[in-house]
């Protein structure tokens, strides 16, 4: 165990150094996952100890940007959990339509799959033109990729299946142009999307919103940081605004439990009380 305790100390120092130098705050992330990702980064950097990695990233911002790619998890897909998007279409959209204009915040948008999914859904429901979507993430490279809207062609078959199960009304292939191995998504889908750098750990609310989607982000936070994020969402949402979470995320263990009502509990769709 002795070796292990050393690694735990080194890990804390690395996280602290990153915070002090770059203002990225991983201090309240779930430890087991951060530890694995740093171990993975060590192998890629071909370094023996976390201390050596700390020295590298402290003195070399480009090395930090490289490490950030390991620390953030870009696992995403379009219309992930199709029944979730079906529930948004059927239960949430009719209520959103009662607003003259809609603001949506996709928090932790990673490389943009959720953003394009939401935009497609809103277009089919006639809402996209009067909606502004704020898509935020802490990883500038992910945001850059999200802005481009170019995804690997090999994923399209699976996304198409998801799209159909999610109640898609057209042909999924109408939304992209195939170019070699890539699917280039219709850029009008992102006309009303603002991509921005925002951290749920350190930044504050920037706009009032009617719907916030934050899926498979909060699982990487400890309870304290989860509550900070829920606080931001509560502050940003309008009266009776919607909060949608990932399929394994819940308000049940949070201090904000009583400030939201479940609308479709199984699909993790909540409304501000």
């Amino acid at each position: 165990m002795h070796q292990e305790r050393d690694a735990d100390i080194e890990l804390r120092l690395l996280i602290e150094a990153i915070y002090l130098k770059y203002s990225y705050d991983f201090r309240d992330y779930s430890g087991a996952s951060v530890k694995r990702r740093v171990a993975h980064a060590l192998r890629q950097f071909e370094l023996k100890t976390i201390s050596a990695l700390q020295e590298r990233v402290l003195h070399d911002p480009s090395a930090f940007m490289q490490l950030l790619q390991f620390l953030t998890i870009p696992v995403s897909e379009m219309f992930r959990d199709p029944t979730h998007f079906l529930a948004i279409r059927e239960e949430v959209v009719p209520l959103l339509k009662t607003y003259p204009s809609v603001k949506i915040w996709i928090a932790g948008c990673s490389t943009g799959e959720e953003v394009y999914s939401m935009a497609i859904l809103l277009r089919e429901e006639g809402l996209l033109e009067r909606t502004i979507i704020y898509a935020t993430d802490i990883n500038p490279r992910s945001l850059e990729k999200a802005k481009q809207g170019i995804f690997s062609m090999e994923n399209m078959r699976g996304y198409n299946e998801n799209y159909l199960k999610a109640g898609g009304k057209r042909l999924f292939s109408e939304y992209y142009t195939a170019a070699y191995d890539y699917a280039i998504f219709d850029k009008t889908l992102r006309e009303n999307v603002t991509f921005a750098d925002h951290s749920l750990a350190t930044d504050s609310v920037f706009s009032e919103t009617q719907l916030i989607s934050c899926r498979n982000v909060l699982i990487y936070f400890n309870k304290k940081l989860q509550d900070r994020a829920f606080g931001l969402f509560h502050e940003s949402l309008c009266h009776r605004g919607f909060l949608v979470l990932g399929s394994k995320e819940t308000l049940d263990f949070s201090g904000y439990k009583n400030q939201f009502d479940p609308l479709v509990k199984l699909e993790r769709i909540y409304r501000k009380s």
């Binding site: 430890g31 998890i73 699982i219 990487y220 819940t250």
Partner: protein, 205 residues
């Protein structure tokens, strides 16, 4: 390495005190797990955390199926819940399950390990971190090598390790991969693993 565990008898080997048990299985795992867990009596107090490789569907009936067949409470692991004694937790489909140092559970969607999410290695390695020597790891039948690294880590950190005898496993790849990486404390057939888990609890509580 011992190759039998006689249950309650005078020649029983002395066991360490553990605070939790982690179990991993793949192909053939449902039957193997049922066989082992059916030996656990009502009121069993050690927490058990299990990864059984399942198809990547959205929801799994695993916890329900085991709940109706066992005397101990069973549930699918939730993110950020605190581990309760005497409960059997299953990792749900599509997410890795880890144990945090404060003995709460966390889920993640990192890359698959050995094509699997949940991964046995991830549960076992995080459990070894959290519990150190006060942990027992059990690796059963399976057709890939997930869990081998994890159970070796448990041993490295001083925990107790148990591998199902590959000769009696429905799929021997998984136990054999574990044996190639480390020598477990016990190499046992299923009935003996059941007896061992019962005895571990008597010893600990």
């Amino acid at each position: 390495m011992r190759t039998s565990f006689p249950g309650s008898s005078p020649d029983q080997p002395s066991l360490p005190v553990v605070d939790a048990i982690v179990v991993g299985a793949s192909a053939g795992g449902v039957e193997a797990l049922l066989k082992i867990f059916r030996t656990l009596p009502r009121g069993y107090r050690l927490p058990i955390l299990a990864v059984l490789h399942v198809p990547d569907q959205r929801r799994s009936q695993l916890a329900e199926v085991f709940a109706v067949n066992l005397a101990i409470p069973v549930k699918e692991a939730d993110d950020k819940e605190t581990i309760k004694p005497g409960t059997l937790y299953f990792a749900g489909p599509g997410y890795h399950l880890s144990i945090e140092n404060d003995l709460s559970l966390s889920l993640s969607q990192e890359e698959r390990v050995h094509h699997s999410r949940p991964s046995i290695d991830i549960l076992f390695e995080s459990a070894a971190d959290a519990y150190g020597e006060r942990l027992a790891g059990v690796l059963l039948t399976g057709a890939n090598s997930d869990g081998a690294r994890g159970i070796a880590r448990i041993k490295e950190y001083g925990g107790l390790t148990v591998v199902q005898d590959p000769a009696q496993a429905l799929a021997r790849t998984m136990p054999e991969a574990a044996l190639a990486l480390h020598t477990p404390d016990f190499l046992l057939p299923l009935p003996d693993i059941g007896s061992l888990l019962v005895e571990l609890e008597r010893n600990a509580c």
